[in-house]
Every structure is written in C-alpha cells, then in structure tokens.
Symmetry: C2
C-alpha cells in the first residue's frame, strides 16, 4: 500500500487544509504584542458571521468538552433546575457535566438516531416552570442527526424564560448557525470538525440575556469564566496565553470559508450528505437516521447483514481509510462516515468507491460502482450555487 497516505473520514478530527498547516507553522510571536492584536482583529469579526451573531465569539484554548463545561458553569447558577435533551453520547455528556456541578438535572432522552420533538420540550417546560436552562446538541456526532435548533429555540422561548444552550461542536462552520435570528442563547463549538483545525481550540458566544445571567452568576470558576474573556475582548486581548498556532491556522480557515462563501460551504455539506446517503441506499445498506433528521457533516450506517468492525478493518488495511465505529450501546452495530470541513464531493466519491471494495472484501454481494453512480447522480442534480 502507498505509504504516507491517510484517508481520514471520521466525524472529526478532520483533515487539515495544506494552507492551514502552513499557516500554523509560522514563527511564534509574543501573545501581548501588536501582531497578536492584529491577528485577533482579523479573526473576531469573521467568527461572528460563522456563528450568525453580533455578539462576541470567544476563542478559548481547550477542547470541545471545555466549551461544554464553560457553557454549563456560566449559564447555570448553583442549584438551578436544568433540562438536558439527550439524543446521543454528547447530549449525555452535557448531562454528566450538569451532574458534576450538582445542578437539578431533568433530562429528556430520545431514541439514538432520532431527533427531539420540540412539542415534547414545550410540554416538559410547561410542567416544569422552574427550569432555568435547556441544553441541546445541534449535530449529535454519535448518531449523525441534526436536532431542529431553530424550532427548539422558538418553542423554548414561547414556553419559558429558560436560556437555550446549544452544543454545535460537530457542525458549526459546516451548517447554518443563525444564532441571533433563531434565538440561541449560548453556542459552543470546537476547532477539529468543520473548522478544519487540529483540536485544542473552542469557541463560545452568548446572547444579551445570557450575558445578564452569566455576569451575576456566583458559580465558582476561573479559567472558564466567560466574563474575564469578554472583558479582555474589549481591548482585543485574551486573559490567558492563547493557543497562537491554532489562531494562525484559524486566520487561514476563515479566509478559506470567506473565499468559498459560507452559503456555498453549507451547500457543499448538504450535497456530501445526500451523496453519501444515496450511495448506501443504492447498495441496500440501512442508515441509522431518517432523511429529514440527517446531519450534513456525518452519516451513521447500521448494516443489517455484515459486521461494521470487519468493514472498518478492511478499508483501513487496504486503503488506510479510517471510518468511525459506534459509541456506547451502538458500538459494533454502526459505523460512521465523516464528511465535514476539508472534504469535497470528490472525496465522498473516493470514500464510497473504497467502501464498495471493502464490502466485496468482507464477502458482501454488491454491484461495484452502484453506490458511486448514485452519488454521482446526486452531485449532478445539486450543483454548487
């Protein structure tokens, strides 16, 4: 096998664009100097358009989970009643963090692979007016679904004063965020998914009403205290040492997104989702999520007549193609194909052609090229705007 080729198709970390790799290799600079200020001046306004907000978007050195904790520890006051919508492993993580902070945890569990019905949330909130914060996951990485954030925001604000906090880790940058327009109170995301960067950076933004709650929140916190970051942003600075090489890379990522155009980036992800799903359907291989629930960034496949892990090993062995397995109770019964960030329809076609070979390798009787053909047809139907 060709050495030094790695085809990375997991739902993050995702491949790094060459120009971003080069950008990250810049000579180190002082984090209190003029260059860092200029770097932040370039980055900050562009981050706002990815989030769809007029609010500050705060970059923090830490992984996505640090972002989730930052949301919990800043949005929820000690002892608050909070509702977590759990549609997979990452909704469950929100719940674990709320537990760790000894909040009064309410949870609505959704069947893994399904999305939440806003109606159920409305009824729950009406029955529990004491709930102060609602937590939801936008793209549930473990199942490949996209929860209906716009409708959820609407429903929640109609039925209560609770803040609406959204984990956008595995999709922001690849799908519409519309924070202000939809009324999301806090958005969190990470750098290693649709943001095309290595892990190590997370981003968080809060609405005006969220900031009021955050400002007088007595919850003990230091590194993850959003107030300190906001204060420093006023003078275009960071309270603690920023992850500079990741910011160098982010600067270039934002250039690439601007060059392509956010509308086109979002459309490209939808096309990649539809190409991937059409391919598996053409091969008669069941998908975990329904069409209307599917995420543009990751597709979860639930094979009926072959073993996911055997297929994953086969494509890894033959092509160094890495796909993800299932998490928790879905371990072994599904596999997940990432198509986010630095990934194109051309990459999706390659991935499908390799999966087809892998399927033959593990003895499944398929017609080679059939999945590729279905994906090619979708591409031809849905041109880039």
């Amino acid at each position: 096998m060709l050495k030094d080729q790695h085809i990375l198709r997991i739902p993050g970390p995702s491949p790094i664009p060459p120009s971003v790799g080069r950008a990250m290799n810049q000579t180190m600079i002082g984090h209190r100097g003029k260059e860092t200020k200029e770097l932040l001046e370039r980055i900050l306004p562009k981050l706002k358009s990815v989030f769809g907000t007029k609010q500050d978007v705060i970059p923090v050195a830490g992984s996505g989970t640090a972002g989730l904790e930052m949301a919990v520890s800043n949005a929820a006051h000690p002892g608050d009643d909070v509702l977590v919508i759990v549609s997979g492993a990452f909704g469950d993580r929100f719940a674990k963090i709320c537990d760790a902070f000894q909040l009064k945890l309410h949870r609505i569990d959704v069947e893994w692979g399904d999305t939440i019905d806003p109606q159920a949330v409305q009824e729950y909130l009406q029955a529990h007016p004491e709930i102060k914060v609602v937590f939801a996951t936008y793209c549930e990485t473990s199942t490949g679904i996209l929860n209906p954030i716009e409708q959820l925001a609407k429903t929640i604000h109609e039925s209560s004063d609770a803040l609406f906090v959204v984990d956008g880790v595995s999709c922001l940058g690849g799908v519409e965020a519309n924070m202000d327009e939809w009324g999301v109170d806090i958005y969190v995301t990470g750098s290693q998914k649709a943001f095309m960067l290595p892990a190590g950076l997370m981003f968080i933004a809060a609405s005006e009403r969220a900031w009021k709650v955050i400002e007088d929140n007595p919850q003990p916190r230091f590194y993850l205290d959003m107030r300190v970051y906001r204060k420093n942003l006023e003078k275009v600075s960071t309270p603690y040492t920023p992850a500079l090489s990741l910011l160098f890379g982010l600067d270039q990522v934002l250039n690439l997104l601007e060059e392509e155009g956010l509308e086109n980036v979002y459309h490209r992800h939808i096309v990649m989702r539809d190409m991937t799903r059409a391919a598996f359907k053409a091969l008669d291989i069941p998908l975990l999520a329904a069409d209307e629930d599917a995420s543009p960034t990751v597709t979860a496949v639930r094979p009926a007549d072959f073993d996911s892990e055997t297929l994953r090993s086969a494509v890894k062995e033959h092509f160094n193609l890495t796909m993800a397995g299932g998490q928790q109770h879905l371990k072994g019964s599904i596999f997940r194909v990432g198509h986010m960030g630095y990934c194109s329809p051309a990459d999706v076609l390659q991935t499908i052609s390799l999966i087809e070979i892998g399927l033959v390798k593990i003895g499944k009787d398929i017609q080679l090229g059939k999945g590729v053909q279905a994906a090619q047809e979708i591409y031809l139907q849905q041109e880039e705007k």
Copy 2:
C-alpha cells in the same frame, strides 16, 4: 468548490507526500559539513537499488533536461555518429540536444503512441557500424508508452559496440530499472515524477564501459561533467552546492519506497495503469497506446467523440482536477492522466469518478459508475503482493 484542494493528475510534477514536504522544511545545513556527508551516506546506496546498479548514482541540481544534456555531452565524443530513437516529444528532445552538440545525428522515428521494434534498431545498427551511442526514452511521457528497454539493450549490444543511453525521467522509481542486469549504459531520471519530489534534482548513472568513454571524452563541459561528480563521490561529497532541501526530501522518499518495498511500488503502478485503462475501455473511450505498450505511470486517452480540452476544463472547473493535454501534433486530440509516485488505487478511483462526471457535464452519454466499476474489478483481481 472546496478551496485549497488540488487533485494533480498530470504525468509530473506529481503530488508530494506530506512527510516529504515536512522533511524538505528542515533547518538548512552547511553543504560541506558532517550532516551533509551523513545525508549522502544514507541516500546513495538506496538510489543504487532504485536504478538496479552497483554503479554510483549521481544526484545533480538541475531538471530532467539537464540530465539528458549530461548524458549526451558525456557519452558522445565531438563529431560522433549517434542514433536517437524518437517515439515522442522527449525522444525528440534527445535529438535536439545531439543537434546542439553538432553530433552526426541518425534518428528512427516511431509513430507517436507506438513503441520501437528492437528489430528495426538492429537492422539500422548493422547498416551503420559507425554509430557510437544509441539514445532511447523508457517512458515516453507525451504518449504514455514504455519502450522495451531490456530487449533494446540486448539487441544493441549484440549488433554493435554503441553505448545505450536511456531517459528514465517519467518512470524510474515507478517501474523496474535493472540497469546492470539489462545492460543499460547510462540512465537519467528526474525528481518530479515517480520520485515524489519537486523538480530541481536529476540523477544519472553510467556503466563501466560508459565510464571509459566518459573519462577520455574531450567534449568541452563543466557543470555537467560527470567525471567531477564521480571524483567527489569517492569522498561522499559534491563538486558544487547541492540542492539540500531536495536531498532532505529524497532521504524521506527513499524511506517511503523502502517501507513499501520496491516490488510493491512497481506492482502498485501496474495496477493503477490497468485500473485506468479498464475504466476508459468500459466507457468506450479509445486509448492512444496498445495494452502491451502502455506505461504504468501515465495513460494517454484519444477521445473519438468529444473534445479533450473541454473535458479537461470541466474537471478543472468542478473539482480542481488537473489532467495534461497533448504535446506537439497531439495537442488537442489527446489528454493524459498521470498515476505515478504519490498516487494510489484509491486516487485512481477518485480520478475516474470525477472524469465520469466531467463527461456528463460536457454532454457525453455514458453510464455513470461504469468506469469506476471496471477499475474496482481490476483492483480486486490484482492484489498487492
């Protein structure tokens, strides 16, 4: 379209493996110091196995054409009668260089797309015993054919004392060279093809009998005088400043070739050739060369019912996929797909799936996925050894 993705499928320059790019970015070193000596000590023996020779393989800063001139100006004495086998643009270049050196030029022209018949060379040499050097091209990049070097060497040595000089620029590193076993007197190649490096470095090796001719050659030459390089190699050094970053990269390229195993590297190229040809056949698109003449590193396609340039523009516009056009009188009537060096069967499948979309885009009526399927079947038939 996804920015910063470039799918480079021309017959060189070819893509650079990431680890080679990183290797080339090492801190610069002194070219007369211990590090450079150690670098050359690692590189030189491994180059010999790629060439299949016990002789020194000399790396020189210059492009492939500098290598061709080095072969001519060192192998041919002033006024010598030389025979150039011209099967395409690069055989023609050999002839031009011989002209520039005012040698007595004989040429056998072969129809572009065909290979030379050793019989014709034998007859010519028997009729012209005055010929001192025979020049041939191993892979003729302009037509995608591979001349029968082993049989040519045999025939030439049986019928005359002429030296046999071979241009291996667009295939060495991707196909068997067997310099000593076959009896090639001088091999030349470049860095930007199957060697997976940027252009700027060329390699040349000579047999014992060739060295005798070179040593007492009065032809005026300085930078390209092979004697000076040979002398310096005795103390593992170079006469002039070496292209160090390319040597850093070469060091890693040779590691990658060793890791994969030269036999597997050659087999991979044969599989990529067969996959590519099977795909175009399945799509009823004519190939320029016959199966028995086809090179494992590049495939030339001669469409009967669509315009090559229109297809090349379509795949460039939609996927930033670059294919090569035709040269000289084949300009406009063929296109060429490179599959050499840092290129895998997975890349070939991607390229074919994109060409299929391009064909539909330019209005050709094909069955999508048909070429991919044919290539997948070849892959499954011919496993890596």
